[in-house]
């Protein structure tokens, strides 16, 4: 019988997710042996027409990474949705919006001005800014417009499963592929990683006191974290408690606090507000004033709490001075 057809596609991607696949190393050969890769732009030359020729549902599974930012992205993912039995959002960008989602705190206009007008190294006396349509020496050239917001994949098409992480760890990818090949899949819409939060598997959780209190925030810029002690107990903001596990605690093993690339746990509606609630509750200040001064020490809440998930937060984007 024919090998199942598998497609990889990238929307707004940094290529890290492709690297993650390449990092399957030897195992990639097994995968290649088990499946028939019909699309993988980063490494294989395949044509749109090949894909278009497929019957709806002919592709067994399509992995899509990157966040959705262009009309072309939209066309491609809609077409792949139609051709595929399963679509899996691969990596933080398609799952949550990812770090590029931080642009949702700004607008396209600000992006263009910062890059082409305000940059110290730009030599642009005439204030040229790239335009969607241009006529250069009589040649008509067009450019896709820059969008104000980044969208998650499931804001554009129906997604069957999510493979979290920036980038997803190889073992999680293999598990997912294995589960798909065996047809042993959890309910549709599941995130293919453990439901518990990171503390569950965190090597430092043992060191966390039951009466944990945070009355002053530390920053890695000016303090060196103790690799033996829970970062929250030390006063470093760590997103572990409000973040799914399954990543292998890779950042923590390198002695850096979690930044939440796996996204919120199934029952938590918003990764950031949940963590605020938890760490603020763990203070001891007993006046509004002292509580406020503790809060002052928490720098850049949005950029920290929604490092990877701003487009999937409740508020979705910022509207300050936009």
């Amino acid at each position: 019988m024919a090998k199942p057809k598998v497609a990889f596609y990238w929307c707004g991607s940094c290529g890290g997710c492709e690297e993650a696949v390449v990092d399957l190393a030897e195992k990639i050969l097994d995968v290649v042996a088990a499946v028939d890769i019909v699309l993988w732009p980063v490494a294989l030359d395949f044509k749109l027409k090949d894909i278009e020729s497929y019957e709806p549902g002919e592709i067994a599974v399509t992995f899509i990474n990157g966040s959705v930012r262009l009309s072309e992205h939209e066309e491609w993912v809609k077409m792949l949705r139609e051709k595929s039995q399963l679509v899996i959002a691969f990596g933080s960008c398609s799952h949550l919006g990812g770090i590029p989602g931080l642009i949702n705190m700004n607008t396209a206009q600000q992006v263009l001005e910062n890059k082409y007008l305000k940059s110290v190294s730009v030599d642009n006396a005439d204030g040229v800014i790239p335009m969607p349509t241009n006529s250069v020496d009589g040649y008509d050239l067009d450019l896709p417009a820059v969008w104000n917001s980044v969208r998650r994949l499931d804001e554009v098409i129906d997604v069957d499963y999510y493979l979290p992480g920036c980038a997803p760890p190889p073992d999680l990818i293999l598990e997912a592929v294995g589960a798909i090949l065996k047809g042993e899949l959890p309910p549709k819409g599941s995130v293919l990683s453990p439901a518990k939060s990171l503390c569950e598997s965190c090597p430092l959780n043992e060191s966390k006191p039951e009466d944990l209190t945070i009355d002053e925030f530390k920053r890695v810029a000016t303090s060196q974290p103790d690799p033996e002690t829970c970062y929250l107990a030390q006063g470093f903001v760590c997103l572990g408690p409000s973040t799914r596990s399954g990543c292998g605690e890779r950042c923590i093993r390198a002695n850096m606090p979690c930044r939440g690339c796996f996204g919120p746990t199934p029952e938590a509606m918003d990764q950031g507000t949940k963590l605020i609630s938890a760490i603020a509750s763990s203070g001891t200040s007993d006046t509004s004033e002292s509580a406020a001064s503790v809060a002052e020490g928490f720098v850049d809440p949005v950029g920290t709490l929604y490092r990877f998930s701003l487009p999937s937060s409740i508020l979705k984007r910022g509207l300050k001075n936009v």
């Binding site: 439901a195 518990k196 939060s197 990171l198 503390c199 569950e200 959780n205 966390k208 006191p209 039951e210 009466d211 944990l212 209190t213 929250l232 572990g240 408690p241 409000s242 596990s245 746990t265 199934p266 029952e267 938590a268 509606m269 949940k274 963590l275 609630s277 938890a278 760490i279 509750s281 763990s282």
Partner: protein
Amino acid sequence: MVKLLIDGREVTTEKGRHVLDVAREMGIVIPTLCHHESLPSYGACRLCIVEVTYRGKTKLQASCTLPVREGMKINTQSERVLKTRRLIMELLLARSPKSPVLKKLAHEIGVDQARFDHITGEDTPLLLGESPSTIVGDAGCIMCGMCVRICDDVMNIGALSFEGRGAKRHVTTPFRHMSEFCISCGACSSICPTGAIELLRIRPHEPDRIPNEFEYGMSWRKPVNISFPQAVPRVPVIDMNTCVNFKTGGCKVCEDNCQVEAIDHSQKDTVEEVQVGAIVVATGFELFDGKELPRYGYGRFDNVMSSLEFERLCHASGPTSGHIVTKEGKTPESVAILHCIGSRDSDHLEYCSRVCCMYSLKFAHLVKDHTGAEVYNFYIDIRAFGKGYEEFYKRLLQEGVHFIRGKAAEVTDVALTPEEEGKLIVVAEDTLLGMTRRVPADLVILSTGLKPAKGADEVGRIFSLGCGQGDFFLERHPKLAPVDTAADGIFLAGACQGPKDIPDSVAQGAAAAAGALSLIDKGKVVLEPITSVIDEELCAGCKLCISNCPYEAIFFDEDKKVSVVTEELCKGCGTCVAGCPSGAAKQEGFEDVQIFAEIDGALLLG
């Protein structure tokens, strides 16, 4: 045991006792002046002599110091005895002719005329700054020495002693100086058979009397006393601050005299811990202090009194046994009752104290009834809200009590007219007549309002009771749970929850008791079904909830590596749920999804 005959009657008693005591037990009357339970027999006055026949010999002896003997024969009434006693009495009379006690006793034993001249102790010339040569007053001293002995042996003070010999012998202070040691306990004067001792001769100033708190200082009490007639339990208490025993270690006269040995001065305050299933808070109220409204002269004028002071004054068991009199002791001709003192006053108690109208009417009735004086009620409104109250009000109108609609403006003693002289004048606007009135009165009663008892706020904190209007404790629901509080198993009764009259307080007390009983009977409590639960499928054991719980209801299960809620301890505040970063904690009835739905609903409105 020894057997003996007294006045021909045989009696058996234990050895070592004195004849006097035995005889008295037999109901035989033997006069004596120097015999007292608190002091050993001394045989000073000799009045108790009897005729003793023992081993064939017969002689006269003082019975108070005469030990019983086997076969002893005693005659207490023989001619010889009576004759001798009369002689002794005459001699005593010569010492203190004026003592009423002595005179009375003398008369009883048939001495009406003393044959000897009056003898006193020697009056040697005084040195400067000395006290009088003797502490004895006109009543005269019979040298029984009981005062010296009780002061010395019993009170452990020794402020008194004898001085001189023979006819010059007399009782005085050391070196005749005013005593620095005397504590004015008054034991000497109270034990003195002739009532001759004058305390002021021992100590230059009046003994400190103890005001009776229950009577608002309108009468005095003893260190040992029963607080008030209705006290429960109705037993005497000893006031450690004033009892001599706690000052000198002496006295204990009461302890010695208590037949059932109920008194124990060595008792100390103790703190008892009692496990209970329910608590009824009934800390009551406290009267608004009239001094906060100086214009009514409370505390300045003797005859301006608070409602409770008057309550005692007109009470049969009160300081004047129910005689309504002014401080000067004369029956008033006119009495003013000022309503709403402190109550319904935006500067003080905003609320109506609810009971004042009715007790004021009662006062008016009593005054009228007892003294026939003119009674003037100064009122804003008469709130006769209860069963039979309105009728009572009508009755008073018929009794000719005056009702002046208008809150009294002030009470003054500045008389403008002759008939105001020497009286207190109540100034008020009579809003019905539309004129200012000056009403002279001998007695002014302030119908002061009710406020929560001192320390109620502390009690509130201990039992975590909320406070409502006027800082009275807050019931769980004004209509549906009027005796329950926010805290399960804690009930409210009486004025601590708000001003109440007696019937209402009794009713609420009963209700509170019933509420408490219903819990105790069940022997179990029903928890509200809103406790928190932690889904162990989702809990990562991050432990952040543990310090969040105000009740230490969450513990970390080391085996499962998850946090667990102890349902019995959980009170369902939901703090841990809000604080759970992974959403593993849920609160029954207040789950996130439910609240989100409520938010959606709320946003549909308006």
